[in-house]
């Protein structure tokens, strides 16, 4: 693939960046390669006020390429784990997490496959997913969209979905928002009357059939389905600078 040819990973990175549009002055925590790249694209183009860390404890004012170590001049603040918890309980945060499983209401599982008591596969555990999803905006990234990841029922609810949030009543659900799910095939949201997952756009070259065949539940399909925007040549230039090694391409299944 030539340097300026647009790949699926580039489309995904822009779709991820768009999740953070209008977020303004809040902290973005983007877990994984494509989320990191997309968040960096957003901050370096249309959403410059976002706060982002080096993945450890430094808030960086400058946007660095993936894998680059910050120097003192790149730093604008301090965000040790204690401050991360305060920030997430405060709500000034948008996290993009992965999802080993996600269902039609956006319940996410990163904990385990099988029965929690004696799992067939122990995964990461719930980590911060329960607290994140009930306290501030969350989006998800699925690099390999298939019916083992997009499932009718998740084995263990780590991140809270809309049906679980609704059951908590107006107090419990008031800070809950799952903004979007970006996969290697398309962009999805929950802007439906009962907050069931809806296909928003298909990535260029992806047939609707492929999405339907690889989704383990019934998606809401709007009339007049759009195609996910392709990055402009300027945006492609920024993406090449932010990911010179092409890590995102290795992650995204075409």
């Amino acid at each position: 693939m030539s340097h300026d040819e647009v790949s699926r990973a580039d489309v995904c990175a822009l779709a991820i960046a768009e999740c953070f549009r209008n977020d303004g002055e809040i902290m973005v925590s983007a877990m994984g390669t494509s989320p990191s790249l997309g968040a960096r694209l957003a901050k370096s183009t249309f959403e410059p006020d976002l706060l982002m860390t080096d993945g450890f404890n430094l808030l960086l004012r400058n946007v660095l390429p993936l894998g680059a170590a910050p120097s003192d001049g790149d730093v604008e603040g301090w965000m040790p784990f204690g401050a991360v918890f305060d920030t997430l309980w405060w709500g000034r945060r948008h996290v993009m997490m992965g999802a080993s499983q996600i269902d039609q209401f956006g319940n996410q599982n990163i904990a385990c496959i099988g029965r929690w008591e004696k799992p067939k596969a122990q995964l990461l555990g719930v980590r911060g997913a329960p607290g994140n999803t009930i306290n501030h905006v969350t989006s998800y990234w699925v690099p390999n969209h298939n019916d083992r990841a997009l499932v009718a029922k998740v084995d263990m609810v780590s991140g809270v979905g809309y049906d679980r949030a609704a059951a908590l009543g107006p107090n419990g659900r008031r800070f809950h928002e799952i903004r979007r799910v970006v996969t290697n095939l398309g962009v999805f949201d929950f802007n439906t009357p009962d907050h069931r997952m809806r296909l928003v756009t298909l990535h260029p070259g992806v047939e609707l059939e492929r999405v339907l065949d690889n989704t383990g539940f019934e998606l809401v399909i709007p009339d007049g389905l759009d195609v996910t925007p392709v990055p402009t040549p300027e945006q492609i230039g920024v993406l090449r600078e932010l990911d010179p090694q092409g890590y995102a391409r290795k992650e995204v299944v075409e």
Partner: protein, 280 residues
């Protein structure tokens, strides 16, 4: 005031069935010299409360751990602790899995001698289902909001590792993240601190900003000078994680013979023999 002792003196306070709080975070500034001493001592049926890393993994592998209370168990550069994974998949471990923030509130509750602290974290998730001991509480104010009451995470003994300390038990974290080691000490009946180097109080205070003096001497009953005491986890700025040894350790989860060899070479030896074996 002189609280200096050896790792083995400190670990002698631990008996079968105790609950141990372990500071650090994942594979970062873990009090590994104490963990190795726990292996040598051979105490059983332990409960460990930890932002878990190789502390939980090693005690799983040696069969000394009965129960783990954790927000996660990770080696950072290896996202899931492989010995912990194995113990969980074998159903060999009692587990209390909490959201990472819930875990912090449990520590704070214990440090403040409160029965619980309230939070939204956990609501709507299966954390409440897998932990049937968890209760919710209703706000007594007009909002009547229902919240999770995270119970205090108390420990019998806590172990932490700092960069510097004085003989009286004032401790200094020179890395960029203090983690929650002060809370681990306050949440336990008794706490022991190892450090890279014991220095005079004057040197300690001069050795970093005042904010780095995370531990005061009220919090700890004993201080151990243990250079490399967090190894193979990271202890910046003194040393980075030993990724090579961590990979070697991680690989032993899939190979019983390799685990036996690792245990014999790195765990069933004195702390000074360990440090010689990994001398950097």
């Amino acid at each position: 005031m002189d609280k200096r002792m050896t790792v083995d003196d400190a670990v002698a306070e631990v008996t079968d069935g105790m609950t141990i709080g372990i500071g650090g975070w994942g594979s970062r500034r873990k009090p590994m010299a104490f963990v190795r001493a726990l292996v040598r001592r051979g105490v059983k049926d332990l409960t460990v409360v930890s932002y878990g890393g190789p502390d939980i993994g090693i005690l799983c592998a040696t069969g000394q751990l009965k129960k783990a209370v954790y927000g996660f168990v990770s080696l950072d550069s290896i996202p899931l602790e492989p010995h912990f994974r194995k113990a969980r998949q074998n159903g060999a471990l009692e587990a209390v899995e909490l959201d990472e923030g819930m875990f912090l509130l449990g520590l704070r509750a214990a440090a403040q001698r409160l029965p619980f602290l309230p939070t939204r974290a956990g609501l709507g998730s299966d954390v409440l289902k897998i932990n049937p001991h968890l209760r919710t509480v209703k706000s007594p104010y007009d909002d009547r909001e229902e919240l999770v009451a995270v119970p205090a995470l108390k420990a019998d003994v806590a172990f932490i590792h700092m960069n510097r300390a004085d003989a009286a038990g004032n401790g200094q974290a020179l890395g960029r993240d203090p983690y929650f080691d002060n809370l681990f000490c306050m949440a336990a009946n008794k706490a022991f601190m190892s450090c890279e180097k014991i220095v005079s109080t004057e040197e300690l205070v001069a050795g970093g900003p005042l904010q780095s003096l995370l531990i005061n001497r009220m919090m700890v009953s004993g201080v151990v000078e243990a250079p490399g005491g967090a190894h193979f986890t990271e202890c910046p700025p003194d040393y980075a994680r030993d990724e090579k040894l961590q990979r070697e350790y991680a690989a032993t989860a899939k190979d019983e013979e390799a685990w036996k060899a690792f245990r014999a070479k790195y765990l069933e030896v004195t702390e000074s023999d360990y440090q010689n074996a990994v001398s950097r």
